[in-house]
């Protein structure tokens, strides 16, 4: 019997079968790789916390990251749903790090910010997840940008301004200001809001420690 390829019945059955087959394959691939993906994500999160606390860098090995994390970082109770907080004592000084998700230009930006418990000086900032415009706003993940926050003094209004500068990074750690990214002023604004929010959370947690 020759199949009537253009009949409604065949079209519906064919579409249904093909869609199901490919979706099942994708779901299987997703399930099989899930434990690996989860492990990767938890490693990425641990690494970002250490990076924000300035306890790890690009040359730190995977095993070192995990051992430093378990020995140096204490996970604190969640300050709010979807957030996470970490405490650490480095060279006798206490630090608080928070994981925060805030809106960006195209999607949420997730970052980890570490500061002293009074939120007077930033210890470090590390981007964990962002979907900003590649090559423009996407550069907020690059070291030259995040390194500007290292040791930056927080302004009396609890803010660090992200504003246009030379575009090469602002070396002054006392002016509570970092250079924005040329061509990505909206993303820079979002980072400024995210940092201010994170600092407020650090202060809150630090006050109750």
């Amino acid at each position: 019997m020759k199949l009537k390829k253009e009949s409604i019945g065949y079209v519906i059955v064919f579409t249904f079968v093909v869609c199901s087959a490919f979706v099942v394959l994708l779901a299987a691939a997703n399930q099989i790789t899930l434990p690996r993906v989860k492990a990767n994500q938890s490693y990425a999160s641990h690494y970002a916390v250490l990076k924000a606390l300035d306890l790890a860098g690009p040359e730190t090995s995977k095993a070192e990251v995990e051992s430093t994390y378990s020995s140096q970082v204490k996970e604190l109770p969640e300050p709010a749903p979807g957030m996470a907080a970490y405490g650490s004592t480095i060279d006798g000084a206490a630090y608080v790090a928070v994981k925060i998700t805030n809106p960006g230009l195209w999607g949420p930006i997730t970052a980890i910010l570490a500061a002293d418990p009074k939120a007077e000086r930033i210890r470090g900032l590390e981007m964990l997840d962002q979907q900003e415009t590649p090559g423009l706003g996407g550069r907020i993940g690059e070291a030259w940008f995040t390194d500007q926050f290292k040791g930056e003094k927080v302004g009396s209004d609890g803010k660090v301004t992200v504003a246009q500068g030379s575009g090469k990074g602002d070396p002054d750690k006392e002016n509570s200001k970092v250079d924005a990214i040329t061509g990505a002023s909206r993303t820079s604004d979002f980072v400024q809001t995210l940092v201010a929010k994170a600092l407020a959370t650090v202060k809150e947690i630090g006050g109750s420690l």
Binding site: T15, V18, V37, N40, A44, T182, G183
Partner: protein, 205 residues
């Protein structure tokens, strides 16, 4: 010329996806400001086009005409998501770097273009080679543009800086507009050369 060689030559030059078909321009604008992202994009597109064309060619006698585009999108996005899943599981660093780029492969018109123009009427093996040829044809043009953009935009090559401190990066090269005029210049150069070569051929006949 053997059929396989002809398909290769078509994809790489005679019927180059960028120069002649003018497909996949969107990604040309997005990823060519650094070489590493460009190469990964090229590999992704080549893999998805080749595997997608191969699968669609296998299924072509079963696909009703009314829903062929739906099936094409389904199969192509299947391979794109597979790439995304594999990268996330086995190359998390690259996956994080690329972020939205991988998903963007599906919006590359080369995939649908080849499925519709070639795989729908040719054998699976030939369609596979056609996918590879078009992916590479797209790739070499992109790599050339990326070399120029990364060189002037960042003063680097594969992220390795080799211009001195005194070098002022051309910000325009990092941004999309530079891709517009570089692609346009490349198109112009390639088509002028092609027209001249053809005129010469006709003259000698």
């Amino acid at each position: 010329m053997s059929p396989a060689r002809k398909i290769m030559k078509d994809g790489l030059w005679t019927n180059n996806p960028i120069f002649v078909q003018v497909l996949g321009i969107c990604s040309t604008l997005a990823v060519t400001n650094n070489l590493r992202n460009t190469l990964i994009m090229v590999l992704g597109v080549t893999f998805a086009t080749a595997m997608g064309s191969w699968t669609l060619s296998l299924l072509k006698d079963l696909i009703p005409r009314k829903v062929r585009m739906i099936v094409q999108v389904l199969v192509l996005s299947f391979y794109v998501i597979i790439i995304d899943i594999l990268l996330r599981a086995y190359q998390p660093a690259i996956s994080k770097q690329l972020g939205p780029y991988v998903g963007l492969i599906i919006t590359n018109c080369i995939l649908m273009g080849r499925a519709e123009a070639f795989a729908a009427a040719n054998k699976p093996g030939a369609s596979f080679i056609d996918g590879i040829a078009n992916g590479l044809g797209y790739g070499w043009v992109l790599v050339c543009i990326a070399v120029i953009r990364e060189f002037f935009g960042f003063g680097s090559f594969f992220g390795i800086k080799f211009m001195g401190e005194g070098f002022t990066p051309w910000t325009i090269m990092v941004m999309a507009p530079s891709a517009f005029f570089l692609v346009a210049m490349a198109l112009w150069a390639a088509n002028t050369y092609k027209a001249k070569a053809e005129a010469k051929k006709k003259g000698t006949k």
